[in-house]
Amino acid sequence: MPALDQLETTPGATGSAGDASAPTMRTVAVAMSGGVDSSTVAAILRERGQSIVGLTMQLWNQRRLPELQGEGPRQHRCCSLDDVYDARRVAEHLAIPFYVINFERAFEQSVVRPFVEDYLAGRTPIPCTRCNNDVKFEQLLATARQIGAERIATGHYARVRHNAETNRYELLRAVDDTKDQTYFLFGLTQDQLARAEFPLGEMTKQEVRETARRLVLPVAEKPESQEICFVPAGSYVRFIESYLKEQGTAGGSDGGGMRLGEPGEIVTTSGEVLGPHHGLHNYTVGQRSGLGIAVGRPIYVVALDGEKNRLVVGDDAELRSCICEVRNINWIPFEAPDATLHADVRIRNRHQPAEAEITALTPTTARVTFTEPQRAITPGQAAVFYAGKQVLGGGWIE
């Protein structure tokens, strides 16, 4: 039987009389987290008459680190049973097929372990980007295709368009600049962008809420979550400590090669020792408070020296820099830039993109030279290059 064709159209359309009215539209999988954004995506596509399937990823077992239980508002963290329940209720409300898929193994390998390793190595990671690249638009998309949905829609605020001239897919900032999430999506490949739908990219958050209310979605009034989904109450330090403890006992080794950062020295940029630190994973570049030392002027974390296990501090001026190197770059509207590029570069999520010159060193590495010094350029974060609304690409700050 011509199975592939059938799977790509509405399943069950096998030619019997009852199926005559069945649409031949391709099914789209909606990644549903149980939040208002992805729920509204499902509702919008449903309202448009799109054939859709709701998929919720089970990424992390909240019961795994029992000592973190009871911290923070549990109901608004992803993968809590409450969120899966919310996603299911929305799917029931919309009368669409809905499935929970277990990606706990992939999530731990691709997101959680690198997150912990980065902190231990003195970097400040962005787990959401890894999750998008390696889980949502990789594993989930693969599963979506296996079950007959060739495209995947998410609640991201971003836009994708196809450029007929270059025959490439382009990533654009959301219409609602305050909600734009392209900073987390720069790593999407052409194939991933070709299969992505971001219906909220054209809407403001206000419009999304109103749509959710108009369609009487069960999550219309649900508050937003800005936290890292697997880290309770925003305390990544406690998460790392619990995770390493669990790995130590569960793995029967020293945490699979990972060890909690040892205490070390706090030094100034000129090498003066100011006191002890509690392990580098406790600090991020740009941090001011919580250092436990007083020198009579504001001092900030300037760098985390993983090799020497030193926390380097300095004044505000020392925190500013014009140059950084970026690796593992994904270019979007072109394979690789022909020459030096001028772009606005964002170095953290809420950072106002700053003018810079980008010099490609190899097809996937570049030197970024800002016109004005930027505060707290942080290894482990992403540098994302914009030309106006368009995302040219991005990579990881060394």
């Binding site: 199975a3 059938q6 079950i147």
Partner: protein
Amino acid sequence: MQLNRQQIGGRADAVSARPASRVYLDYNATTPVDPAVLEAMLPFLGANFGNAGSVHTPGQLARAAVDAARDSVAALISAAPNEIVFTSGGTESDNLAIFGTVAQSTKPRKHVITTSIEHHAILHACDELARQGVEVTVVPVRTGPGLQGIVDPEEIRRAICPETILITVMHANNELGTIQPIEEIARIAADAGVCLHCDAVQSAGKVQLDVGKLGVDLVSVSAHKFCGPKGIGALYVRAGRQISPRAWGGHAERDRRAGTENVPGIVGIGKAAELARNLLVEDSARIRSLRDRLETTLLERIPNVRLNGDRNRRVPNTSNLSFPGAGGEALLIALDLQGLACSTGAACSSGSTEPSHVLLAAGLSRDDARASLRFSLGRPSTAADVDRAIEIVPSVVERIRALSPREQEAAAMHAR
């Protein structure tokens, strides 16, 4: 049985990824209530609403129906009516059997034996026993090829010690369908003077079940596995065998299970038991031939498929197959979207799936366990259902294998 969309969700959609018609091959999960069962129950949800514990005439009418149902359930398993305790279902029956037996024992140290392929209603109850200080031995099953998924009675014998107070072994496994050698185990238990409980939730109504011949002390059954309603089951308690109640209240069920009798449910299980008993021979022969045709055809048409569980010693309605290279989760969803309902391992609380403990216990690798599907047939199953499954499954397996991330990696490597 072909169900239409109205029957499934009650919402006829102009546009949905849901197919218009469905084939249901998941009767081990649950069965529809037989129309005759529904008809028998309806008066007890309406005019005959009496409490079976009341003295007056409405109460007597309810009591008469409960007594008749008890006769019928007893007849299904060749027991006496006073050996039947109605419960809320298989899980409660299992828990009552286990905790009721342990609480009854006066031994200072207590030991319970079970197997690695039991339902969670048994295994998780045994976990709780262990937390309470009872020693628990979980006996493995044979990992095949011969007698795969079947416990070796000698393993049970070896596990018995002076402290052993209970052996609990299922009759038919819910995932593999394999039938356990209960008679042999019963002889071993009797020699040692140990109580034997048998979870027969997946065999009652599917194969002949004679508690006397089996030689068991306690047996759990559940109505919704044989075309009765959900929320009603029974525990057989051999005459003379004492169990402590797990809930205290009135004197229902001879003080063994307090609580107002679920009269409509009890009437339902009674009628369902009567039908199952009358139709058993006919149903099982027909279902077996459908199952065999489905299984043989899938094994022929799909490359690299493996049958899990011993081929001969199993209930006639179940077929468990591994499709290496195709994830069971994706298989299950893709088949559902094509209108075929079947099952992978047991679903966890969030609705997603972990590899089945039964398949792992039967010796499958985690990957193969994840790549497995259970097809289970029932009284409403038709030749058309099997035809449709044979039409759908091979192409879905092929697609999922071709699009599995591992395959694509391999293809990409090849291309380089």
